[in-house]
């Protein structure tokens, strides 16, 4: 990751409040003031994608199973969601931000970082933020909260804290004091698991985390997590990276019923591998890392990844890596699976290191590309590999997209 050195920076983190719900309300004003939950039908097995503040008051939050949301907030209006409309709104939102600084990094559809260092001609940062909020409201009817800070992580925490429709500015030098009293869960990167571990060590606030001796922290969380301690100290030199290409691509699906049928799990992975492989070939990229995501019936979620020296865009290579990850995960914990996902990342556009067996891979790539051609013309289902037969039987010819 690129780092900026020396000069103090000013970074905005702009985050749209209850984005999906707000878009639904713009499209259908009758939903205003009512508890709204976007994610799917409550009798389905999906999770909450976005909940209005009215629904949040009942304890509903994102990533909660819909059935539970229904129990907590029976009066809520459940919507399946309208992804294409969200993308349209997101584009408008991002276009507005891009007007204020070339140094701009979207993080998903509804949030972005903006490095405004040196853009002083707008007056004070506070005024600039107000201007941006007003323009977003005027042009898209969406509500944004903004955090202003000298680093990305502090800006993000500030915008989160300011919600809804808020604005918090953390001046240079005050990052530590600002973060210190906040609960550790507010730190991006501290999930349920890390939080549990910290709780057991009696670390409840970001300040306590920041004061942990480095050696103890390393011992408990590993050297690779040292950035978390730095972030807790308000230190984050990562740069706002200009709008770049996607860094990964992924697919996932929640099964209708929890399953421990490895045949079905592998068939699903094969289907994902073919979809992801086709995407890679289409964009002339190769990936070095394959990541498997499993959510077990008890909601424990694991990610396992494998990085190879050789990058690939072949369906079969992706699939083989995925199967190895699946087998080793199931060997450790053989339980019913609720959700399975596959991600390819660590892209390279062209290979620097030539391989001994390139001729062999080229042949396989030609086969995959020939299949891509047929599928482009006659549809994905027009040609099928044996591995995915089980899916076809299960979904009677309707392969489901994640």
């Amino acid at each position: 990751m690129a780092e900026t050195k020396g000069t103090a920076r000013t970074i905005f983190h702009i985050d749209l409040d209850a984005f999906f719900v707000t878009v639904e309300r713009v499209l259908n004003p009758a939903l205003s003031g009512k508890p709204v939950i976007v994610g799917g039908r409550p009798e389905g097995r999906g999770v909450v994608a976005s909940a209005s503040y009215e629904a949040r008051k009942c304890g509903v939050h994102a990533a909660m199973p819909l059935a539970r949301a229904k129990r907590l907030c029976p009066q809520a209006i459940f919507l399946t969601g309208n992804y294409h409309r969200y993308v349209d709104f997101s584009h408008k939102f991002m276009d507005i931000l891009a007007d204020y600084s070339p140094s701009f990094q979207p993080g998903g559809l509804d949030e972005a970082y903006l490095d405004v260092t040196g853009c002083q001609n707008f007056g004070s940062w506070h005024n600039l933020a107000i201007k941006i909020k007003e323009r977003i409201k005027r042009e898209t009817s969406l509500v944004a909260s903004i955090g202003i800070a000298p680093s990305k992580v502090v800006a993000k925490i500030a915008s989160d804290l300011s919600k809804p429709d808020g604005l918090i500015e953390v001046a240079s030098g005050e990052e530590k004091a600002f973060l210190s009293p906040l609960p550790v869960q507010k730190m991006p990167g501290v999930g349920e698991k890390t939080n549990q571990v910290m709780k057991s060590m009696n670390i409840l606030t970001i300040g306590q985390l920041a004061r942990m001796p480095e050696s103890l922290f390393k011992n408990r969380f590993g050297e690779g997590m040292l950035w978390l301690r730095e972030h807790a100290n308000g230190i984050d030199n990562s740069a706002v990276e200009a709008y770049g290409e996607a860094k990964s691509s992924s697919r996932e699906t929640t099964f209708e019923k929890d399953t421990s049928d490895t045949g079905l799990l592998k068939a699903t992975l094969r289907y994902f591998s073919e979809k992801l492989g086709a995407d890679l070939r289409d964009s002339d990229k190769k990936a070095r890392t394959v990541t498997l995501k499993l959510r077990y019936a008890d909601f424990e979620t694991i990610n396992r990844s494998k990085t190879s020296r050789e990058a690939t865009n072949l369906d079969d290579k992706i699939f083989q890596s995925a199967v190895r990850l699946l087998e080793s995960a199931l060997a450790k914990k053989y339980r019913a699976v609720r959700l399975i996902g596959l991600e390819v990342s660590n892209f390279i556009n062209s290979e620097t290191q030539l391989g001994l067996f390139d001729a062999e891979s080229k042949k396989l790539e030609q086969v995959d590309r020939a299949v891509d051609g047929i599928r482009d013309k006659y549809g994905f289902d027009s040609i099928q590999t044996g591995y995915t037969m089980e899916l076809k039987q299960k979904y009677s010819g309707k392969t489901r997209d994640a």
């Binding site: 290579k317 290191q353 030539l354 001994l356």
Partner: protein
């Protein structure tokens, strides 16, 4: 079981089998070492189910018997004892160790529960001089893949034909092939893929260049036994087909340079300092002179925003000028296992493999795939 032996011998024996002790395992007993009396000797054995190593040491046996004890504790305790007579006495499942004024008791697990050390004996058999095999392993095994994505590439293709033994390994970016001589010719051609890890261990066990090593494959072709003096190692054989490597070795070249190994190594080492930040790219430019002797090679590397370096060495160059880039590590890996003073580097185009061979012998080919760079 009751016996006595010298601390020095027991310590050495434990060192030999130690690397076969399982570390992370689902079968806890494989973290133990099997101690048993075998005729008038003490036999030590360990297995991680991929390889098994047994070692025999001299001992005075009073009562026969066997037990398994945790390898780490036993080994650490034995190694800290003075070089004196150690007596081992098994009482029920507790091994009592006494040496002068020191003693210890270690609770063991029944030897009957230890995974059987495979008996390999009924299949193909041949012999080779340790020196020959050691050299072959050192020049080939390092080129095997460490990633599991293609399991056959984590092994070394091992071929016996006539009186030749050929070892070949490839990891997708380089290929090493070495030919050595067997003591007696074999009747039929036999080939097997032996895990590179097993060869690394075997290499470590070799300490007497003049001794004969017996190599036996079992009838099922699933295991291979290497028999050294007082040491036996059994390894699983990797099932599958090794790629046809001979077609990966270029038969012609456009440029051939003869280079002093030590100088080449120094230049590569310098380039790798600057190449570290990039993808390890060392750029090699071969320039012919007015005569073959007046040729030279430059090796350079650059690190974005930091700097660059260039080194020039003399070479005997036959053919046209050439440019090619390699991962510096692949070059230093191969140069470090070559015993001869000079090597030849053969190249054709910047995107075709380079071949490195020691000058003066005809038993080793090392193919390295180049890197694609903007010059």
């Amino acid at each position: 079981m009751k016996l006595s032996c010298l601390q020095e011998n027991l310590n050495k024996g434990l060192g030999i089998i130690g690397r076969a002790v399982a570390t992370r395992t689902t079968l806890p007993i494989t973290q133990n070492v099997l101690i048993s009396t075998d005729q008038s000797q003490l036999k030590l054995a360990a297995t991680n189910l991929e390889i098994a190593i047994s070692s025999w040491i001299g001992a005075k046996i009073e009562n026969e018997g066997s037990i398994t004890v945790p390898a780490r504790i036993f080994t650490e305790f034995i190694s800290s004892l003075p070089n004196d007579v150690i007596s081992l006495n098994l009482k029920h499942h507790t091994l009592e160790i006494k040496c002068g004024r020191y003693e210890a008791r270690i609770n063991g697990l029944d030897a009957a529960d230890f995974p059987p050390i495979p008996q390999v004996g009924d299949g193909f058999m041949t012999k080779i001089l340790e020196e020959e095999l050691k050299q072959a392993i050192s020049q080939v095994a390092f080129a095997a893949a460490t990633e599991e994505s293609r399991p056959v590439l984590t092994g070394v293709q091992t071929e016996f034909e006539g009186s030749k033994l050929t070892l070949a390994a490839a990891d997708g970016f380089r290929l090493a092939v070495h030919r050595s001589n067997l003591i007696e010719p074999v009747k039929d051609k036999v080939s097997m893929i032996i895990p590179a890890k097993a060869y690394h261990e075997l290499h470590r066990l070799m300490s007497e260049p003049d001794q004969e090593i017996e190599i036996t494959q079992n009838a099922q072709k699933s295991q291979v036994l290497f028999k050294l003096k007082n040491i036996e190692m059994v390894s699983q054989i990797i099932q599958g087909t090794f790629p046809n490597y001979s077609q990966l070795i270029p038969q012609t070249y456009g440029t051939k340079a003869r280079i002093d190994v030590a100088e080449f190594q120094r230049a590569i080492k310098m380039a790798s300092i600057f190449a570290r930040d990039g993808s390890g790219i060392a750029r090699v430019i071969v320039t012919p002179g007015a005569t073959v002797e007046a040729g030279k090679i430059t090796i350079s590397a650059r690190a974005d925003e930091i700097g660059d370096n260039v080194g020039e060495i003399d070479a005997l160059v036959d053919g046209e000028a050439a440019k090619i880039a390699f991962n510096a590590r692949y070059l230093s890996d191969v140069l470090s296992v070559i015993k001869q003073a000079q090597v030849s580097l053969e190249v054709t185009t910047p995107s075709n493999p380079g071949v490195i061979r020691p000058v003066g012998v005809d038993n080793y080919d090392h193919v390295v795939m180049p890197m694609f760079v903007q010059w």
